[in-house]
Symmetry: C2
Subunit: 239 residues, 2 copies
DNA sequence: TCTCGTACAATTGTATACAATTATACGAGA
DNA sequence: TCTCGTATAATTGTATACAATTGTACGAGA
């Protein structure tokens, strides 16, 4: 099952369809297309050097992801991702990563456990050298393995989506040395709990891990990347 | 914001694109297309009386939803939804509905609260007459309002997806009189907690509500609808 | 001047044509 | 008989053509 999942992912990056989809997605998340901006099929097609067909297919997917809204016979409008969206995603992710760790406690394989241990070890090494590129890669891999280890297609799917969503923000966060060290400590906690088959501890550790990542992001003012995107729809929840 | 969301939904049902998408989706969820079955674009197009273009667009969306898997240059294969998937969705939904209720505690409007109260009242009435059609409708509406009331585009989006996913199974479950009465009691608990601005209680009540719905479904053997779809990939988690 | 309606332009929705890729059938050679 | 290679069919990927819808500009009439 994991086999062709990965292959699919890889193939996608090189296939036209995948390229168009990922490119437009990236352009929305990076802020190239502003909130409420109308996306014209031909314009984007020309920019990417393709016809309307692949663009339209990408639009359908982006709509399902909630990044754009398609009004029939009218057009596609960027929904974007607000500061509040990012916060909400982290809150949701906190719960789901917790559930993931909890389930992984029961279904993780020996190989996966070993790979997690290796990642923690390697991260320690790279963190001491401030090598942010590798740290990011290892962090991604750590979570990827947990997603696979939870043995739930549905949960894995959800977490992967969210992970992608905040990837751009998260990458910047991890590049700070201090957080990467702390983050790895938290990974170790999760790992230990899983190894000890302590599902409650694993869940809590994973919960906290995501919340901490969010707190850290806020503290470092990395929200600024999204400044001005607030749409004024908020009703002021502040928990 | 809610305004055109609804309009979109309605328009979709009547637009060709929406029809094709929903129809294929329904056919997969209803088991018409078996697990791993290959979906041919022309065949399905002919069956629905449309060309390949709308079918392909629907395929892209279904892939993102995880209902089919598209292998480039090969074909689209049904992923289906296994017994374990249903269970996992309920577990995930339990957490997310909890979060939704918790957030709604802070952001719900007076109008939404009143509508929830009305729904609970109406459900009591219809339950006493065993009118399952109305009960289902009201139950849907209850959750819909909570999704809107949590004031989180992201969470709302996720919950709506899951809700759709299990709708077919859930409808059968609710038609049992006993559950519908109990279910409404649980709705009342959630509502009371929200009215009292007790976020902890609201979260717990919503958590339990979903878990109970699942337990009830299992007890009533409604799993049978999915019998034989198990793919043997499981590694035996049994919590 | 303002309003309304019609024509035209722009854009999306769908169907079809063509290209590229993959699966299959069949036959030649060992 | 078996294997391999080539031709052919089937299917997907992309581009384009045409239809339907929507937005806009302009002018006639009050």
């Amino acid at each position: 099952m994991k086999g062709y999942d990965v292959k699919q992912e890889v193939t996608d990056k090189f296939s036209l369809r995948g390229r168009v989809f990922h490119r437009i997605r990236e352009d929305i998340l990076s802020g190239k297309y502003k909130d409420n901006e109308e996306l014209k099929e031909v314009a984007i097609g020309e920019e990417l050097g393709v016809s309307r067909t692949p663009v339209r297919e990408a639009f359908r997917q982006l709509e399902l992801e909630g990044l754009i809204q398609i009004i029939p016979n009218k057009g596609a409008y960027v929904t974007g991702i607000t500061v509040k969206d990012v916060k909400d995603i982290y809150m949701i992710r906190s719960l789901l990563e917790g559930l993931c760790a909890k389930w992984a406690t029961h279904s993780i394989t020996k190989e996966q456990l070993e790979e997690l241990e290796e990642i923690v070890y390697l991260t320690e090494f790279h963190a001491s050298r401030g090598n942010s590129e590798q740290i990011t890669e290892l962090d991604n891999r750590f979570h990827e393995i947990l997603y696979e280890a939870c043995n739930s297609k549905m949960l894995e799917h959800q977490l992967r989506d969210f992970h992608d969503y905040v990837l751009r923000v998260r990458r910047k966060t991890l590049s700070k040395y201090k957080r990467s060290t702390q983050s790895n400590k938290e990974h170790k906690e999760i790992l230990t709990a899983i190894r000890n088959k302590d599902e409650k501890k694993a869940e809590e550790a994973a919960n906290r891990h995501v919340l901490n990542a969010y707190e850290n992001m806020v503290k470092n003012g990395l929200y600024e990347a999204y400044a001005g995107e607030e749409t004024g729809n908020e009703r002021g929840r502040t928990d």
